[in-house]
């Protein structure tokens, strides 16, 4: 009601102001014609004692029908031109929302639950739509009808109007208290629902453990407690509604009783005609819906506002990772060649106590292959993710690619030039072909065939029902981890990147296959800088440079043979690894 609160809606509605104006006009016509009808009936009833002729009656019937025809056209108008824009506003907001999602960074999606974002894009958006369409409609409709009815009632009989109006303020009082309490109880329900969602989520995520420990019954019981509490909280709202709605009807009913009782006396006392008495009752009846409508509008406005607030929250969050300020940037024509330098680079994740990377100084020449090894949590992946700028927290020092600070390179060019494959790649529910060609739809069929071969996918493809056209995911074939990883590799290779980052990208493959694929790639892509993060140290043998990370620091560096002789962390790792490796080989 206060313009400040409506503000966020305005830009979206402005686009359709003409349509909405038409709708508004149609609504006014509707309301005014609706007010005419009881008046016509009044005239008709007052006419009856004078023994009107059939044709006279027909004239009234025709007049009434004509008025109704206007009413119907008005109704058509506002339905079409008030609800229509609300759908279009919904459409626009959703598009804008999706476009905004597309610019937000990985860190954002890490913090926000995807379920929550979807709920904002669907449920909250529906509340906004209802406010823009239904809310506005009821607001205008109620105001016009209430004012119109009350004026006409006063016109018919001011005294009676005053008497009838006595119980009505009760409705408003009832309403304001009701709204306050109901929103409190609504919030309790929402919070509980979130709790329940979290429980279900954990249950499904850990279902393998729960089943292994035969916790089905136990979990059902725990869920049951939550479920029952939820019902209880919901019924608390119901009780309120159960009292509120009937009280409203009752209050309006009391007004109707007063109007009949006092009205009848007035007619007998010949203070008003019988027709006026009927019309008065008619207008009173017309008031009941807008009276309830006001409550509904308050509800819709509240919901719409908080929903819009939640949507605005998404719009007002900006990615930390974006192109540097214009002017300082590197030209749009920049192409990643492949030289990488870390200059005393440190990095901490937001809200982390200790830095994930400390004083990394590292130069990788174009075309070099570097293996980064270390224990879990030593910072290997963090280091790799710095290059395509997937994360950005507090940082010191700098990263240069081809001598240019990484922040200054347009994000588009940077990412175009880097092929990044991680341990759990995401594939879309499309055909395998579409997944590999993702982002490189223009690739020639030779290029395509070559990456399929390089990624060692040919045998697997033969086993799928439709080969390359096999659909991946929920509605299609479920792929093994190794297959997913190799499709992701093919996808990255097809980009012809200047830098290829393989972040434990073959963890689901056996050592032999991994080595086979890597050899092939390295031979084929001599010019491409390749950074391999791996747990399998045998891979490191082929690298030009090996980096050993420990707690975010480079503790050892050199070639495989240098490090092996050094008898430090690397050689210890190599020994225990090669044992496992040989074990694996023996077992093959």
């Amino acid at each position: 009601m206060i313009p400040e609160k409506i503000k966020p809606f305005l830009p979206f509605m402005a686009k359709y102001k003409r349509e909405m104006a038409v709708g508004m006009a149609a609504l006014l016509i509707t309301d005014i014609t609706a007010l005419v009808i009881p008046w016509l009936l009044k005239e008709f009833i007052d006419l009856l004692p004078d023994d009107p002729s059939r044709s006279h009656l027909l004239k009234y019937a025709g007049l009434l029908f004509l008025t109704s025809a206007v009413l119907a056209i008005g109704r058509y108008g506002w339905r079409k031109y008030m609800f229509g824009p609300s759908r279009k506003v919904e459409f626009d907001i959703l598009n804008k929302l999706f476009a905004h999602f597309l610019i937000l960074d990985k860190y954002y999606f890490h913090r926000q639950k995807i379920g929550d974002l979807i709920s904002r894009a669907t449920n909250d958006l529906r509340s906004v739509r209802d406010f823009v369409g239904l809310g506005l409609l009821i607001l205008v409709d109620s105001t016009v009808v209430i004012i119109g009815c009350v004026c006409l009632m006063v016109w018919i009989n001011p005294g009676l109007t005053l008497a009838v109006m006595i119980p009505l303020p009760l409705v408003s009082i009832l309403f304001f208290n009701f709204v306050k309490e109901i929103s409190k109880r609504h919030r309790a329900v929402q919070e509980h629902l979130a709790k329940m969602t979290a429980r279900v989520q954990e249950n499904i995520a850990g279902i393998r453990v729960l089943h292994a420990f035969v916790q089905e019954e136990n979990e059902k019981n725990k869920f049951d407690v939550l479920n029952q509490e939820y019902i209880r909280k919901n019924l608390r709202i119901t009780k309120l509604f159960g009292i509120f709605t009937p009280s409203l009807i009752f209050t309006l009913g009391v007004a109707a009783v007063l109007s009949i009782w006092l009205g009848a006396k007035a007619v007998i006392a010949e203070e008003m005609t019988l027709g006026a008495f009927v019309a008065f009752n008619g207008y009173l009846m017309m008031l009941s819906w807008p009276m309830m409508g006001i409550g509904y509008v308050i509800n819709l406005t509240q919901k719409g506002q908080s929903a819009m607030g939640r949507i605005q929250e998404i719009f007002s969050s900006y990615p930390d990772i974006k192109d540097g300020p214009a002017g300082e940037g590197v030209a749009d024509t920049f192409q990643v060649e492949g030289k990488v330098e870390f200059g005393n680079f440190s990095f901490s994740y937001p809200e982390a106590e200790t830095p994930a990377l400390k004083h990394i100084a590292l130069t990788i020449a174009k075309g070099q292959t570097v293996a980064i090894v270390g224990k879990i949590g030593s910072g290997k992946s963090t280091l790799a993710q710095m290059l395509p700028r997937l994360y950005e927290g507090s940082r010191e020092g700098e990263i240069l690619i081809d001598g240019k600070p990484i922040q200054n390179i347009p994000l588009l060019n940077l990412r175009k030039g880097i092929g990044y494959v991680d341990q759990e790649p995401f594939l879309f529910s499309m055909s395998i072909r579409a997944n590999i060609a993702f982002g490189n739809e223009g690739a020639t069929s030779e290029e395509f065939e070559r990456v399929v071969e390089d990624a060692g996918l040919e045998d697997d493809l033969g086993r799928f029902p439709d080969g390359l056209e096999t659909i991946v995911g929920e509605r299609g074939v479920s792929l093994s981890g190794g297959q997913k990883q190799r499709i992701a590799l093919a996808r990255a290779l097809l980009k012809r990147p200047g830098i290829l980052v393989l972040d434990d990208a073959f963890s689901s493959l056996d050592a032999e296959t991994e080595e086979f694929i890597l050899k092939k790639i390295c031979a084929r892509m001599k010019q491409v800088t390749t950074i391999i993060i791996t747990h399998r140290l045998s891979i490191a043998r082929q690298a030009d440079q090996v980096i050993v990370l420990n707690q975010g620091e480079i503790v050892e560096r050199g070639t495989h043979s240098e490090l092996f002789r050094k008898k430090g962390i690397y050689s210890t790792m190599i020994k225990s690894q090669s044992l496992a490796q040989q074990m694996e080989i023996t077992l093959q």
Partner: protein, 600 residues
């Protein structure tokens, strides 16, 4: 491709069938439903009193210019209103109560059904989708039951009620008004078929939109890395536009149909004025009746309008119910036998695989003719390369998947004849990736045995060498573990999972050794704990460390789903096969580390 799948789905669940199924959930509350419908009926009838009182006042008092008794009529009207108030409260509360109970039942059912699903189901279905089923879809169904279905009842009662009263007041006039109905019926039919089509298509588009949204939010990093933002935006906009088109189409139908009701209503009122007015002039009808008739007629078209609006709510809810029922209808892949063999209180722990064949899909066998046996208290290590079928043996033993050929016996009884829950209760499984639950350390140790005492938990922690870790934590056993155990180190999670397994005092222990490396000190703790764990217990260990092989009674070497070697370590050494090689590897390392130590 996608749209045809969606259409298939709608075909499978016809609206009427869905409707009946939803109604079926009301069955346990039929008494309550009956009472609620009674109140609903009462509310509808009492709601019709207004115009009738108007008629009485006009005909008996105003026309007769009689004042005495008028107060009584007003009082009576007030009484009717008060009664209506009470009835409506009861009706609203009861309806919501029933709705909530149904929602509770449905949610419990869906949740319980999820727990009946086998691992292959969870392999296929993303977590987010399943959450939506249990939480949101059930919620929408409730909305339909309480605000859709019930109001339809009330609308129908009101319609019938008005018709009866009108007929009672003046049947001739009513019949004349009936002329309108055939037209009304035709208009409604025309509207229904079109609106239904638009709403159905709209529903499919909404599903498509949500699927696309969900997938893109999950894979946003990939979209961005491959600079597909523009492309995906266009696709999204396209689906959204299709949805808008159907939205506007159904809006258009509403915009035409609903005002048309006004015309029919006006036609009815016109007929009353013309015919009824004429009859009044001829003194065949009283004025009050005419007025009441006009008022009723206006009320009559309200429920019809209302029903058209409800149509939308119901269509949306149908989409949700479809999805919920689809989940509930997913058959349980691993059913319990009808009459399970009751195992002894404590089984002995003999395990036998007899020519077991297993494939996750089709003829692609992952286990081929596997036979082995473990006596009570014996331990068996399984070694093999990645993908050789080690984990599958474990999954088959726990009946997370059912085998195709052969048999698995525990204490001489086929596991297919046993209650799968009782079977799993005898087996403690330590998985490679430890999943911990939110709660504290003690809760996590107690996972499989909720009644475990604190002292017992402490002694278990001691056994698996976890005690000193816990004692170093500020809150000790009350230390909060976040979901997935993200705030504990790898080694800590390992040891906690050992404690969790030991807490159920299993007869059979199955352990999938973690491959990830931890520091040497923790490694030593884990190895020591492992020995404690398998002592005196039938154990199957999927070994990734050669050192583990030293502590077991039997070794099984798997290769591509087949057994290549099986026997005691001594026998296998003599065979000079794979195990012999592994043993030599081990010896080399021992030598290497012994030469290394002096350097330190």
């Amino acid at each position: 491709m996608k749209t045809t799948l969606l259409e298939n789905l709608s075909d499978r669940y016809q609206d009427w069938a869905l409707f009946k199924r939803i109604l079926f959930y009301l069955k346990p509350y039929r008494l309550l439903v009956a009472v609620a419908i009674f109140f609903l009926f009462a509310v509808s009838i009492l709601g019709l009193a207004g115009p009738y009182f108007t008629k009485i006042v006009i005909d008996d008092y105003i026309k007769a210019s009689r004042l005495e008794g008028l107060d009584l009529v007003a009082l009576l009207y007030l009484g009717v209103l008060a009664l209506g108030f009470v009835c409506q409260f009861c009706q609203t509360y009861l309806m919501q109560l029933i709705g909530q109970k149904v929602m509770y039942d449905m949610r419990t059912q869906v949740f319980a059904h999820l727990h009946k699903m086998s691992f292959s189901f969870f392999d296929k279905n993303p977590v987010g989708k399943l959450i939506t089923r249990v939480v949101n879809d059930v919620e929408v169904l409730n909305e339909m039951l309480t605000s859709g279905l019930i109001l339809i009842f009330s609308d129908l009662f009101t319609l019938a009620g008005i018709f009866c009263v009108m007929f009672y007041l003046d049947w001739r006039l009513t019949l004349v008004v009936c002329i309108v109905f055939p037209f009304l019926y035709l208009a409604t039919q025309a509207y229904r078929t079109r609106a239904r089509d638009a709403l159905r298509k709209n529903r499919a588009h909404i599903t498509g939109l949500n699927t696309f949204l969900e997938e893109n939010l999950s894979g946003m990093a990939t979209v961005q890395l491959f600079h597909k933002e523009k492309d995906h935006y266009e696709r999204f906009e396209g689906i959204n536009r299709d949805k808008l088109k159907e939205d506007l189409r159904s809006l258009h139908y509403n915009a035409v149909y609903l005002p048309s009701i006004d015309l029919f209503s006006a036609l009815g009122v016109g007929l009353v004025i013309w015919y009824g007015g004429g009859r009044f002039v001829q003194d065949e009808i009283q004025l009050g009746v005419l007025v009441a008739f006009l008022q009723y007629l206006q009320k009559f078209f309200e429920p019809i309008r209302d029903l058209a609006e409800k149509f939308n709510i119901i269509q949306t809810a149908m989409a949700s119910s479809e999805r919920v029922f689809e989940l509930i209808d997913t058959p349980e892949e691993i059913p319990n036998p009808k009459q399970a063999v009751v195992p002894a209180e404590k089984i002995r722990g003999e395990v036998e695989f007899q020519n077991v064949w297993f494939a996750y899909k089709g003829d692609d066998f992952v286990l081929k003719d596997i036979s082995f046996s473990i006596r009570e208290g014996e331990s068996l290590a399984i070694v093999g390369a990645t993908g050789s079928g080690k984990s599958t043996i474990v999954n088959a033993l726990c009946r997370f998947y059912d085998i195709q050929k052969g048999d698995i016996l525990v204490d001489g009884t086929s596991i297919q004849k046993m209650n799968k829950y009782e079977l799993r209760q005898q087996i403690a499984l330590v998985q490679q990736d430890v999943f911990l639950f939110s709660g504290n350390i003690l809760d996590n140790i107690r996972l499989g045995s909720p009644n475990l005492k604190q002292e017992e938990a402490e002694s278990i922690a001691q056994t698996v060498n976890f005690e000193h870790f816990i004692n170093n934590l500020p809150l000790k056993y009350e230390h909060d573990v976040r979901e997935g155990g993200s705030n504990l180190s790898l080694g800590q999670k390992q040891l906690l999972s050992f404690a969790r397994a030991l807490a159920v005092a299993p007869r059979i222990l199955v352990l999938d050794e973690a491959t990830a490396s931890v520091d040497t000190e923790t490694e030593a703790h884990i190895q020591k704990a492992l020995q404690e764990l398998i002592r005196g217990r039938t154990s199957i260990i999927i070994a990734h460390r050669l050192s583990t092989l030293k502590h077991v009674d039997k070794i099984l070497v798997l290769k591509a789903g087949e057994i290549v070697e099986y026997g005691s370590p001594q026998d296998l050494l003599k065979k000079k096969g794979v195990y012999h090689k592994l043993y030599n590897l081990q010896a080399d390392v021992a030598e290497a580390s012994s030469t290394k130590t002096p350097e330190k």
